[in-house]
């Protein structure tokens, strides 16, 4: 396991940079992760996606399917990749503090 320094706090993440204890998640962590994922500025659109993901996960215990994410946020897939260049799973879910999605490889 490795650690990411978030304003001095050591946050444990797995090899892929996903947070190990989702309970530790907070907005500062997002900002820090964002930089690592190539997101320079966190806009409202970013937050919309992040909040949607967290809400969905809290309710259903799983990450939404991408199609659902697009539908509910109103962003098409292209736009999601603009917001999160490493994609919804590697990018958005990671920032939202979700467990690694189970979509297949």
């Amino acid at each position: 396991m490795s650690y990411v320094d978030v304003n001095g706090k050591q946050i444990e993440v797995d090899e892929d940079g996903f947070i190990c204890d989702p309970d530790l998640w907070n907005e500062e962590i997002v900002r820090c992760f964002a930089r690592l994922e190539g997101v320079d500025e966190l806009t409202d659109d970013h937050w919309k996606v992040i909040h949607y993901l967290r809400g969905y996960y809290r309710q259903f215990g799983i990450a939404p399917m991408i199609r659902k994410l697009c539908k509910e946020t109103g962003f098409n897939l292209q736009r999601i990749y603009e917001l999160f260049p490493s994609g919804p799973a590697k990018g958005a879910c990671k920032l939202a503090g979700l467990p690694k999605p189970t979509g297949c490889v």
């Binding site: 991408i66 697009c70 897939l77 990749y81 799973a89 690694k100 979509g103």
Partner: protein, 396 residues
């Protein structure tokens, strides 16, 4: 690297079949990653188990897939494979290469990766086996320079592949390579940015011999077929017979529908064409005399897959015959219809076949707007559990 480090693997350098261990060693000479790979594999052989971690979500910017992340479970012992991701590189249709192109690929891979690769992965990709997270992006960029893009991974449309088709086969009813390339270009978005419930595979075979193994390994298989009569060169058949070819036992008796008969007096092979189910057997046996018909196109089969979760499937006939000419619009529309329906109704990690199994084929057909036809089934239903739409019953 010291030879005695890998006594178990060394045994696999013996024997006549080409040795992957020899290849590992060849790569290990140039690459520290490969050297550690060799050591870790040796350890697996000793421990009787793999030493990779689960998980691994890494990639390149702008794509959601194309890379399979992999980390060693013993990074201290084998630091070279601490990160050992594969890049799935989309092969050219038909697996043809110029040596020039292959050499360029080798150069890039020696620079950024382990120098080990699979030609090919069983989906069809060139599998570049092992690089670090850091090298992913530069490697991808370098691949782009020489014209190689990534293939699919994750819940995406996967890299397509096909049989050799018209490029070298007399049986091909469709231009498999062109269909494959055209669809690949058309569905770049779906290949690179996973947005489906699960993986979606397409493979293309030129005739029912199915040399691309499409019907077992693709959610949507495109298989060439004809619908007029087999072309018979009677002269050619007579030659086979004159040369002592056992026509009865090798062909007539083995035609699944007894569509063929030999008129010994007239020396004519008689075909009852309406009985022919295009199995290819007679044509395979007498390629000099028999030939697929002239009205050519393809069937589309859906649902082929491996065992997990609901069991393995061999593709089911969805469209028994479709003409296939560029730009293959009808086919593309169908693929969009099918994937849209699946994306809309499928659950996470539910393959197309499993969705259809869950909702029922009639509901699926209605959903994608395809008319039922008898070719879709081996036989009609035997249980009396029929559903009726309200309109149908009211009018009665």
């Amino acid at each position: 690297m010291d030879d005695r480090e890998t006594p178990l693997l060394d045994e696999l350098e013996e024997g006549d079949w080409p040795s992957f261990v020899a290849e590992l060693k060849r790569a290990a000479e140039k690459s520290a990653m490969s050297a550690d790979l060799l050591r870790q594999i040796e350890r697996s052989y000793a421990d009787n188990t793999g030493h990779w971690k689960r998980g691994g979500i890494v990639g390149v910017r702008g794509y959601g897939g194309g890379v399979v992340g992999r980390y060693s479970a013993m990074p201290e012992e084998f630091p070279g494979v601490k990160e050992f991701h594969t890049l799935r590189v989309n092969e050219p249709a038909g697996f043809y290469y110029t040596t020039e192109k292959l050499r360029e690929l080798c150069d890039v891979w020696d620079k950024y990766g382990s120098g080990l690769l699979n030609l090919h992965g069983s989906t069809g990709d060139i599998i570049l086996l092992g690089t670090t997270t850091e090298n992913l992006q530069p490697c991808f960029d370098a691949l782009g320079e020489i014209g190689f893009d990534l293939g699919g991974s994750g819940s995406a449309m996967r890299t397509l592949s096909c049989c050799v088709g018209q490029s070298r086969c007399e049986h091909a009813c469709i231009d498999t390579m062109d269909v494959t390339h055209d669809l690949t270009m058309n569905f770049q978005m779906e290949i690179h940015r996973p947005a489906f419930p699960y993986k979606f595979k397409i493979k293309v075979s030129g005739c029912p011999n199915d040399c691309a193994a499409a019907s077992a390994r693709s959610d949507l298989a495109i298989i060439g077929v004809w619908r007029d009569a087999i072309e018979i060169d009677q002269q050619g058949v007579a030659e086979y017979v004159d040369e002592g070819f056992d026509l009865f036992n090798r062909v007539i008796r083995r035609c699944p529908t007894w569509a063929l008969d030999w008129d010994a007096e007239e020396k004519r092979l008689k075909l009852t064409s309406e009985d022919c189910v295009h199995c290819m057997h007679c044509i395979n046996e007498m390629p000099k005399a028999l030939r697929v018909g002239q009205e050519r196109g393809a069937a589309v089969l859906i649902g082929g897959k491996a065992p997990v979760v609901k069991g393995a499937m061999i593709g089911w006939v969805l469209v028994p015959f479709m003409r296939l000419e560029p730009p293959y619009q009808e086919l593309k529309d169908l693929i969009v219809q099918v994937t849209e329906f699946w994306a809309e109704h499928g659950k996470n990690r539910e393959r197309l076949a499993e969705l259809i199994d869950r909702l029922g084929m009639p509901a699926f057909l209605e959903g994608i707007g395809v008319e039922p036809c008898p070719q879709m089934v081996d036989a009609p239903r035997s249980n009396p559990y029929l559903f009726w739409r309200e309109e149908e019953v009211k009018h009665a």
